[in-house]
Structure formats: structure tokens, C-alpha cells
């Protein structure tokens, strides 16, 4: 009975979304209330679930779809990691989006799809088997498209086409690989240690091909090079969408899927024994370096951040591919840390665009004087990305480095160092411009009461996330931090 909490969590964002679709454009108050109520209610439910999972009471719900196929919702520690991140950031992004889109057209459509998008992400987090995962993964593709093309300009539509082309092709390969795997391995429930280890060795060839197909198809959303093209072009979307896309929804769905397949379908032992992980590690390492190098030359701020995402998401995959407890910890904790840091950066980029009309890096000279709070948050996010202690990004890199040594693959350390240098090379000049270069012209002064730099709805979310970036770094060792939870996951995964 208590397992009804799982569908309740799904419905907490789905229902408000469906209602919002039917609301007339002018119903701002009702729409806002529905959005926030849904987000808060969900956060509450997630907190309840959190306590249960910490005590190893896994909730599970099975619904027969066809004879022999079930929809499985299940909450384990890894689900909760992703679920909490998405529930928290959804609340903040909703607040931000309400401020950002104030007065613009088609808001009912926007918030409707926004809620659907989060429902799909929630479903991904709560999927208990690969079939269910595929269902929600595709739902995410569809519900994100209207958000990407929201502005309705020819440029946005072109970006939408690219987005659909990549994700639909990826989804199709994923679908095919899943059907294939289902037909040789039977039910595909996520379970520690995987479900394929006991199969006939004659099938190992097929299993390796399926693994490659799964990695490539999930790699589209996780923006593995060369499947990342859609991500920078999807930058035409409104800032809250970019923020959500980069921090939790789309790219993380891909990364989360890869984690699930490696940990809970193939199993770490099996994947390592069959040498399936080394190519993944190589591809992730290449993506890390490539994304950072491309970020260097981007003048458009959002594009620079997008290439930074390409690079940073692969840290997660690199950590997973090491197949050592420390590497896993580094990768998983980066799932949360990268989300918080990147969403901060995108919120700030959105504030610049919305308040001062700044889109390019070379227009940012001295903007720290006009928007000190926003830019302080931006600086925290950027320094975190570089991995400066004691910020959250440092924790990720530290564990990744330890993991690579434990895995006996010291070359990964070189990748991490090179990437850190490159991160510094594309973020520090921006920080320098913000604070230390004289503005070219005077910024239009604030029209808000008390000379506030921008509205509260736009300012509070980035400040919150920046604060979390600091706290998760400083308090990494204490109960309740992302690191603490991830260590718990790793302990359960490795049976320590």
C-alpha cells in the first residue's frame, strides 16, 4: 500500500502539468500556484521516500502492460540520488522560469511541457527495469522538444530539428538494443550485479554488441563526442530550459542510463571481465578533452557553457568506467555536483541576457559591478567547475583521481589534470572580465525598487544553488551530503 508513494511522486508533476495545459494564458496566479504546489509536494514525498530507502526499505510497484511485460517502478539508493536532484532543481527552476518568462506568450504551453519533462525525468529515476526506463526516456525526448523550440523562431525550429534527429535516432537504437537484450536475457530488472552474468558464454558476442549499442544510444543524450552536436545548438532555448537540460533532465538522463546499464544490467564484474568498460573510458576521456578545447573558442556565453557540459558530463562516465569503488563515488557524486554548478552558471547567464541583454563573453567587462550577486554566484559555479577546493567540484575530481590510481589506470589522472587546466583556461578569463576589467559603457541602472540588480525570482535560485555548491564541498564528509549518500550507494553496489 505504501508503495503508492511512487506513482504519487510521478503524478505530483504530471497532474499539475496536464491541468496547466488547459489554463488560459491570463491565469498567472493559478498556474504559478499549481507549479509551486506540485514542486513542493513532490519534494516532501521525496523526503519521505529518502528516509525509507536509507533504511533499506525499497519501494516497488509493478503494473502489467502486456503479457510478459511489466512497468516497474522502484526506488533504490541510486534512484533517490537522481530523484532528489531533479525534485530540488525543479523547484528552483520553476521559480526562475516564472520570473524569466514573465509577460511572454505561450506560457501555459511552456509550463505544461516543463512539468511533463520533469515527470519523465522522475520516471527515469524511478524506473525499476530497462523497459520502464526506455519508456520514460522517450517521453523525455518528446516533452523536451516543445521547450527547445519554444521561441518559435526559424533558428529555434532548426535547433529543434537537430535535437529530434539525434535523440530519435538514439532512442531507436536504444529501443532496438533493449528488445534484443530482452529476447536473449529475459526480464531486465535493475539489480546489483546485473542480470546477464549467468547467460550462456555463446551469447557473450551478442552481449558485447548490445552493450556498444546501449552506450552509443544513451551517449546521444549524455553528449558523448561525436554525438554531442545537438547540445550546443539547443542553446537557443530559453535559459530555464537550458538550465534544466544541462543539469538534470536530458544529459543526466543519458548519464544515469549508462550508470544503470553498467551497474544493474551488465554488472560491474561482468563488464570489467569482458573488457567492455575500457572503450567507454577512452571515449569519455576524449570527450572531456574535446569539449573543453571547443569551449575555449566560444564567444557566446551559453555555447561556452554547453561545451563545458559536454566535457563535464563525461566525468561521470569516466568514474563509472573505472569500476572501482572510489571511481564510482567520484562519478556518481559528480552527477549531483555538476548539476548544481551548471544550473548556477545557466541561471546567471540567463540573468545577464534578461536584465542587461548580454549574450557574449566579450560583453561581460565589469558586469560584476552592475550585478554583484549574480556574478558572485557565477564565480562560485565557475571555480567549482575548475575544481578549486573546498568547492563541490573539487570533491568529484579528488575521488576520480583516487579511483584511477586504485584502478591501476594512472593515465586518467593526466586527463583530469589536462581538463582542469583547460577548465581554468576558459572560465578564469571570464571571471577576470567580470570583476577586474572596466566596463566599456555604463550599464543601464536598475529600475527596481531599492536598486536591486534583478527580480527576486531570478536572483534567489542561482544564489541558492551557489550556496549548495559551497556547502556540499565544505560539508562533504557529514551526514546528508551528496558524498555521504554516494558512498552508501557504492558500499551497497560493491557489497562492502
Amino acid at each position: 500500500m505504501s508503495d503508492l508513494i511512487l506513482p504519487a511522486i510521478l503524478l505530483s508533476s504530471l497532474l499539475p502539468g496536464l491541468i496547466i495545459f488547459t489554463l488560459p494564458e491570463q491565469q498567472v496566479t493559478l498556474r504559478t500556484a499549481l507549479n509551486l504546489a506540485g514542486a513542493l509536494f513532490k519534494l516532501m514525498l521525496v523526503a519521505l521516500l529518502f528516509v525509507r530507502v536509507a533504511e533499506r526499505q525499497y519501494a516497488e510497484l509493478r503494473l502489467p502492460l502486456l503479457p510478459d511485460i511489466e512497468l516497474v517502478l522502484r526506488a533504490d539508493a541510486l534512484s533517490l540520488l537522481f530523484l532528489t536532484l531533479s525534485a530540488l532543481l525543479w523547484l528552483l527552476t520553476t521559480i526562475y522560469a516564472i520570473g524569466y518568462l514573465e509577460g511572454s506568450p505561450n506560457r501555459s504551453r511552456f509550463f505544461g511541457f516543463f512539468s511533463l519533462c520533469v515527470s519523465a525525468t522522475t520516471g527515469i529515476a524511478l524506473s525499476g527495469d530497462l523497459v520502464t526506463f526506455v519508456i520514460f526516456y522517450e517521453m523525455l525526448t518528446i516533452s523536451t522538444y516543445p521547450l527547445v523550440v519554444h521561441r518559435g523562431t526559424p533558428k529555434a525550429l532548426a535547433a529543434g530539428r537537430i535535437y529530434l534527429a539525434y535523440t530519435i535516432c538514439g532512442g531507436l537504437v536504444l529501443f532496438f538494443a533493449t528488445v534484443w537484450l530482452r529476447s536473449i536475457a529475459g526480464p531486465l530488472d535493475f539489480s546489483p550485479g546485473g542480470v546477464v552474468a549467468d547467460l550462456d558464454p555463446a551469447l557473450y558476442g551478442s552481449l558485447a554488441i548490445i552493450f556498444a549499442l546501449l552506450m552509443l544510444s544513451l551517449g546521444v543524450k549524455a553528449a558523448l563526442v561525436p554525438l554531442h552536436i545537438w547540445l550546443p545548438s539547443a542553446m537557443v532555448a530559453p535559459a530555464p530550459v537550458s538550465a534544466l537540460l544541462h543539469a538534470v533532465a536530458v544529459v543526466k538522463a543519458g548519464a544515469f542510463g549508462i550508470i544503470r546499464v553498467v551497474h544493474d544490467i551488465y554488472g560491474l564484474d561482468f563488464s570489467a571481465a569482458q573488457n567492455l568498460l575500457f572503450p567507454l573510458a577512452l571515449l569519455a576521456a576524449f570527450t572531456i578533452i574535446y569539449g573543453s578545447i571547443r569551449a575555449l573558442s566560444q564567444n557566446d556565453l551559453k555555447r561556452r557553457l554547453a561545451f563545458s557540459t559536454v566535457s563535464q558530463v563525461s566525468y561521470i562516465l569516466l568514474g563509472v568506467a573505472m569500476a572501482t569503488p572510489l571511481g564510482t563515488i567520484g562519478g556518481l557524486v559528480h552527477l549531483v555536483h555538476q548539476g548544481l554548478m551548471k544550473i548556477t552558471l545557466f541561471f546567471c547567464a540567463g540573468n545577464l541576457a534578461e536584465t542587461l541583454g548580454i549574450h557574449k563573453v566579450d560583453e561581460m567587462d565589469g558586469v560584476g559591478r552592475r550585478m554583484p550577486w549574480t556574478m558572485a554566484a557565477f564565480t562560485v559555479g565557475a571555480l567549482g567547475m575548475i575544481g578549486l577546493p573546498p568547492l563541490a567540484g573539487f570533491i568529484s575530481k579528488w575521488y576520480l583521481g583516487l579511483g584511477s590510481l586504485a584502478a591501476g589506470q594512472p593515465w586518467i589522472i593526466l586527463v583530469l589534470i589536462a581538463s582542469t587546466l583547460l577548465n581554468a583556461a576558459y572560465f578564469l578569463p571570464v571571471v577576470h572580465r567580470i570583476w577586474f576589467i572596466e566596463p566599456r559603457q555604463d550599464w543601464p541602472s536598475s529600475s527596481l525598487r531599492g536598486g536591486r540588480e534583478t527580480t527576486w525570482a531570478l536572483l534567489a535560485p542561482p544564489l541558492m544553488t551557489a550556496l549548495l555548491v559551497i556547502l556540499l564541498g565544505i560539508l562533504a564528509g557529514s551526514v546528508g551530503s551528496a558524498l555521504y549518500w554516494v558512498e552508501l550507494i557504492a558500499a551497497r553496489e560493491y557489497g562492502l
Binding site: 502486456l66 504551453r109 518528446i142 547467460l199
Partner: protein
């Protein structure tokens, strides 16, 4: 009370009621709308009661009028009949609601309104009669009734093009029926029965029987518009008024296919179907690719949807080669699932196209530009319905494709994989083209007023199409009652 309720002859009412209402609507054209609506409300109730009475009682077969079998007409009450009746009731109900708005009371073209209702109710009753028919001759008669009422409905729009399309449809229909009837005649000559079950027991692999099979399959293929015999479909489905297009795509092409499905799994298993099965699979594959490519090239929404139907019919024909001994149940179920979900999705799409045509005066894709605001609901209906056409989860189309891919893998017929996958990609491409227009931001000075019956009922249908995969368990269980196939739906490979 329950006894009375359960043992009512609900399935016979499903045929008699619409036929009687058709006559009434013809005689009292002023009241035709209300007669139509009342019938449309009653039929889903009858269908539900019929399903309950079969699933709860497992009673003996019913014969019309209570005459014993050789004399009376025995009704099929198996799962396939039940689910098709249910889908027809659902889609028919929505089409009827939509038609209330599409044919308003004070129409300039009074004839359209006057003739639509009797013909539509007649078509509905004929479809129901076809689904419960258990012998080859009744199937022929009902199929003919379906064709004739469809022809008249296509011609309803008037105008030269519509008449030409209707006439062509009539000739094609007659040719198909004739071919089918010849096959029936051959079988009757050999076995002196037209009962499907009896034939299935007696038939043997003789040359004559193979000729009969070829004739019957050819006739049904023509009627269900499998490539390359699909040439009549796009015009016929485009020229008809939108509610009719919806019925044609959702129900009429399925009627011929249902007959083929019955024959293939109940009469033909004793024959050598290897070559025919693979030929149908090949044509189905070409239909998928060709239909989708043509859909991609269309500038008019209705034509695009019609070509999409051509492609979807191609998927239905993959059932025959994929139904190998170990995947018999899987392929059959996949076909039935696809029929059900396609009926919901495709009819909703045609209704959207009709509404756009109705309000904007043309169904060119460019008319969709900036379909926000009050017209936005049309874009939503179209998108939701399209999920099942593309095969995105959680629609029924997704699981049907799942079953097909699984069956192709297990039986080692890997060449169907690229066909199914490329068909999916092409479908996504032509749907994305439509959506691209809908999301294009253009300022409109005014929005047309759309009657609510033309917006919300199709929305219901499209939501069902989208969620069909989540609610398919019960319908599939019902469909499998008395099904001619046994075994697992999700077959696992043995290394």
C-alpha cells in the same frame, strides 16, 4: 437480473441497432442527428455489455434468432471479434460526436447532412456484423455492405474529384470482393461448407485449395490497400469528409484485414503458406518505406495522413511472415494491438486535419503555422495521436513494434529489422515536419471558432492512443479469448 443482463444477445443488438437507426435516420432526416447521437451512445454500452457477457459467462455460441446452427447464422464471440467491436464502438462514438460539429444543422449543403447519418450508421452496423461473422459467405456479404456504404460516404462531398475517387473505390472494392468470392466458391465446391472452423478442420493442401487461398488473399489485400494495390487509398481517404476519412482509415481497411487474419490463422494453417507469407511480408516492407516516403513529400495534411495509413498497413502485413511456430501468438497479438491503437490514433489525426480544413478552408501544412492559442489544442491532439504512428512509448504502436522486432529476432528474419526501424525514423520525420509548422511563431489576427465537439472528443481519442500501451493488458487478455494461437508473447531466444 444479472442472468437477464448477461444472457441478452448484446452482440446481435450491435448489428441490429445501427442498421435500424440508419433506416430511421433516412426516413426522418430532421431528426437524423439525434438518432445518430443516441445510437452512438448506446453502441458502446452494448459493446461493453457484450464483452462482459462473454468474459463472465462462457456461454454457448449465439445464433441469430435462436435457430440452430446449419439454419441460423452463428455469431463469433471470440476475443478478436470483441476487441474489434469495442474499438469500433469507441472510435464510432467519437466520430459521431465530431460529425455533429462537422455537419452543422444549418449547412448550405443540406444533402450532406441528410445522407451522412444513415450511411454512417449503416457502415457502423456492417462493420459490427463483419466482426462477428463466422463463415466465409457472411464475411463476403458484410464486407460488401461495408464497401458500398463507404463508397456512398466518399461521394458525399460531391464535386468531380470526390465522385471520381468514390467510383474508383467502388470498382476496386467490387474487384476485391469478386476475387474473394471466387476463392470462397472454390472452397465451398470442395467441402460444401463455408464455416471457418469446419473448413479449418477439413482443408488439405491441394492445388485447388491453394488457388482458393491465392484468390481470397488477393481480394483482401486489394481491399486493405497493401502496396502496390494501395493506389486508390490516398485519393479516397482524402476526398471524403473528415469523419468519413477517419472511419475509413480506422475501421474499413481493418475490416478486410480482420478477415485475412481469421483465414490465415484458422483456415490456412494446413496449407503451404510459406511463399505467400513472405510475399505479403515483402509487400508490407515496401509499403512501410514507400508510404512513409510519400507521406514525407506531401504538402496537404490529409494526404500525408493517408500515406501514413499505407505505411501502417504495411506493418500489419508483417504479421504473416513473422508468425512462425514459436512466434505465432506474438505476431498475432502484435497485429491486433497495432490495429486497435492505429484505429484510435489515425482517426484522431484525420479529425484534426478535417478541423483545419473546415476552419481554414484548406489543409495545406502551411495553414498550421502558429497553431497556438485556441487552435493549439489541434496541435496537441495531432502530436499525441502521432506518438502511436511513430511508435513512441507508451503508445500501443511502441509495443506492437516491440513484439514485431522481437519476433523477427527470434525467428532469425533480421531483414525486417531495418525496415521497421527506418519506417519509425521516416514516421518521426513526417510528423516532425507537421509539428515544425505548428510551433512556428506567426502572429495571427484572428482565430477561427471551433465547436467544442470538434476539439475535445478527438483529444480523448488521442490520449487513449498515447496511453494505450499502459492499458493494453486487459484488451490483449480479452483478444486472446478463443484466439487461434497459443504461446508466449515475449519469446526468448534459445542460444
Amino acid at each position: 437480473m444479472t442472468e437477464l443482463f448477461l444472457h441478452q444477445q448484446w452482440l446481435i443488438w450491435l448489428t441490429l441497432l445501427p442498421l435500424g437507426a440508419a433506416v430511421a435516420a433516412f426516413l426522418a432526416p430532421q431528426q437524423a442527428r439525434w438518432i445518430g447521437l443516441a445510437t452512438a451512445l448506446l453502441l458502446p454500452v452494448c459493446a461493453l455489455a457484450g464483452i462482459l457477457s462473454v468474459t463472465l459467462t462462457h456461454a454457448d455460441p449465439i445464433t441469430a434468432g435462436g435457430w440452430p446452427t446449419p439454419l441460423g447464422i452463428e455469431l463469433r464471440r471470440d476475443g478478436l471479434a470483441l476487441v474489434m467491436l469495442a474499438v469500433t464502438a469507441l472510435v464510432g462514438f467519437i466520430i459521431s460526436c465530431y460529425a455533429l460539429g462537422y455537419f452543422p444543422v444549418h449547412d448550405r449543403h443540406y444533402d450532406k447532412v441528410r445522407y451522412f447519418w444513415p450511411l454512417w450508421l449503416f457502415l457502423w452496423g456492417s462493420c459490427n456484423a463483419l466482426f462477428v461473422s463466422g463463415d466465409l459467405f457472411n464475411l463476403y456479404v458484410t464486407l460488401e455492405l461495408v464497401t458500398l456504404s463507404s463508397v456512398a460516404l466518399i461521394a458525399l462531398e460531391g464535386g468531380k474529384q470526390a465522385l471520381a475517387a468514390a467510383l474508383r473505390y467502388l470498382f476496386i472494392g467490387l474487384l476485391g470482393s469478386l476475387s474473394y468470392l471466387l476463392g470462397v466458391g472454390l472452397l465451398y465446391g470442395s467441402y460444401a461448407t463455408v464455416d471457418i472452423a469446419l473448413l479449418g478442420e477439413m482443408i488439405s493442401a491441394t492445388r485447388l485449395n491453394h488457388a482458393a487461398m491465392a484468390l481470397m488473399v488477393a481480394g483482401l489485400v486489394l481491399k486493405s490497400a497493401l502496396f502496390p494495390l494501395h493506389f486508390w487509398l490516398p485519393q479516397a481517404h482524402t476526398m471524403a469528409p473528415a469523419p468519413v476519412s477517419a472511419a475509413l482509415s480506422a475501421l474499413v481497411v481493418k475490416a478486410a484485414y480482420v478477415i485475412l487474419l481469421r483465414l490465415w490463422f484458422e483456415v490456412f494453417p494446413a496449407l503451404d503458406t510459406f511463399a505467400v507469407g513472405h510475399l505479403l511480408g515483402l509487400l508490407g516492407s515496401i509499403a512501410i518505406v514507400w508510404g512513409s516516403l510519400m507521406a514525407l513529400r506531401q504538402e496537404r495534411l490529409k494526404l500525408l495522413i493517408a500515406y501514413s495509413t499505407v505505411a501502417q498497413i504495411g506493418y500489419l502485413y508483417l504479421v504473416f511472415p513473422l508468425a512462425q511456430p514459436e512466434t505465432m501468438a506474438a505476431a498475432w497479438t502484435g497485429g491486433v494491438l497495432l490495429m486497435m491503437t492505429h484505429a484510435c490514433g489515425k482517426s484522431a489525426m484525420f479529425m484534426v486535419a478535417g478541423t483545419i480544413h473546415h476552419t481554414a478552408g484548406s489543409d495545406r501544412l502551411s495553414r498550421l503555422a502558429g497553431a497556438g492559442g485556441p487552435v493549439g489544442v489541434l496541435a496537441v491532439v495531432f502530436t499525441l495521436a502521432a506518438t502511436t504512428i511513430i511508435g513512441l512509448p507508451p503508445s500501443g504502436g511502441f509495443f506492437a513494434k516491440w513484439i514485431f522486432i522481437n519476433a523477427a529476432l527470434v525467428t532469425g528474419q533480421w531483414w525486417y529489422l531495418p525496415i521497421i526501424l527506418s519506417g519509425t525514423l521516416l514516421a518521426a520525420a513526417y510528423i516532425a515536419r507537421v509539428l515544425g509548422w505548428a510551433f512556428l511563431d506567426v502572429k495571427r489576427s484572428s482565430y477561427p471558432v471551433i465547436p467544442w465537439v470538434m476539439k475535445w472528443p478527438p483529444l480523448v481519442l488521442s490520449v487513449i492512443a498515447l496511453l494505450f500501451g499502459l492499458i493494453a493488458y486487459e484488451p490483449i487478455q480479452i483478444a486472446l479469448i478463443g484466439a487461434p494461437v497459443h504461446g508466449s508473447i515475449m519469446v526468448e531466444m534459445t542460444p
